[in-house]
Amino acid sequence: MLILTCPCCGVTAEETEFHGGGEAHLTREGPGSDDAALEGYLFHRENPRGVHFERWRHVYGCGKWFHAARDTATLEWFGFYPAQTSEPPEALLEQIRQKRPGWRWRDFA
């Protein structure tokens, strides 16, 4: 069972206080989008062995959504950052480059 640190209230707590929300940084495809874009938005998800960006919510705590970067194979957290952004912070990306040279996730590397 994982431990997470909520960037919104600062608590480090066990996974049972949180709820995983799937892949991070999806772009909503609304009316006017073509079928392929809609399909990608609704159904296609990254499933990497290694670096992954996810959404989590501190459901039993402050109720806030946030983002997290994790290695799906080792369960190492690289960092937690606010939900109100469309891409991971550069400092975090740099840290991942140091730890996992050559990593790639969607358009990030």
């Binding site: 919104c8 209230c9 608590v11 707590a13 049972t16 039993y60 705590g61 402050c62 109720g63």
Partner: protein
């Protein structure tokens, strides 16, 4: 209005840790950015308490002012002060973007009293929180076995705990059960 009744009508569990369903208080939830001084000043002015920082709770007599999240505060006052606090907040907040909700009846409020170690044992049996190092003045929103809840220690020897009203009986039974038995520490 007939006299308000708390969820368990003042039920008490006696023992080394005494658990008491407290009489109704005024409980007001304020949603608004706590980085906005218009919001925190209104809360401070109406409560007479300083707005605490992250996960903090200020306590004085029956009054509590808690940081529940970056954009949520909880104000607890004597029940008689409810209407005045609601109107006071609305007035002081003015045009600030905030939602003031009377949640006085939405929750059950329990007070646990007893020896410090026994209190910490009791909570540690139901919540995934390091009770050995839990300080006074902090509010912890967490999981109490299978329900959501929050607790704090206004002073050594006292824990106050809130959960939703509908699960008050569950919380009471759970805590009463955790409070008996041999001490762990």
């Amino acid at each position: 209005m007939s006299d308000p009744v708390s969820a368990l009508a003042g039920k008490v569990s006696e023992g080394p840790v005494r658990i008491e369903d407290l009489a109704p208080r005024a409980m007001i939830t304020v949603r608004g950015k706590l980085s906005d001084t218009a919001i925190t000043e209104a809360l401070a002015s109406v409560s007479g308490l300083a707005m605490p920082g992250q996960r903090g709770i200020a306590a004085e007599g029956e009054k509590r002012l808690a940081w529940m999240g970056p954009d949520e505060a909880l104000l607890i006052l004597p029940r008689a002060g409810l209407d005045a606090a609601l109107s006071g907040l609305t007035e002081k907040l003015g045009s600030a973007h905030a939602l003031v909700a009377d949640m006085s009846d939405a929750r059950a409020l329990f007070r646990l009293t007893g020896e410090d170690a026994a209190l910490r044992d009791t909570i540690a049996k139901v919540a995934p929180v390091d009770m050995m190092r839990f300080p006074t003045g902090e509010i912890r929103r967490t999981r109490l076995a299978q329900i959501a809840g929050a607790f704090w220690m206004p002073q050594e020897g006292t824990v106050e705990l809130v959960c939703f009203r509908s699960v008050a009986q569950y919380a009471f039974d759970l805590l009463s059960q955790a409070a008996v038995g041999p001490r762990v520490f």
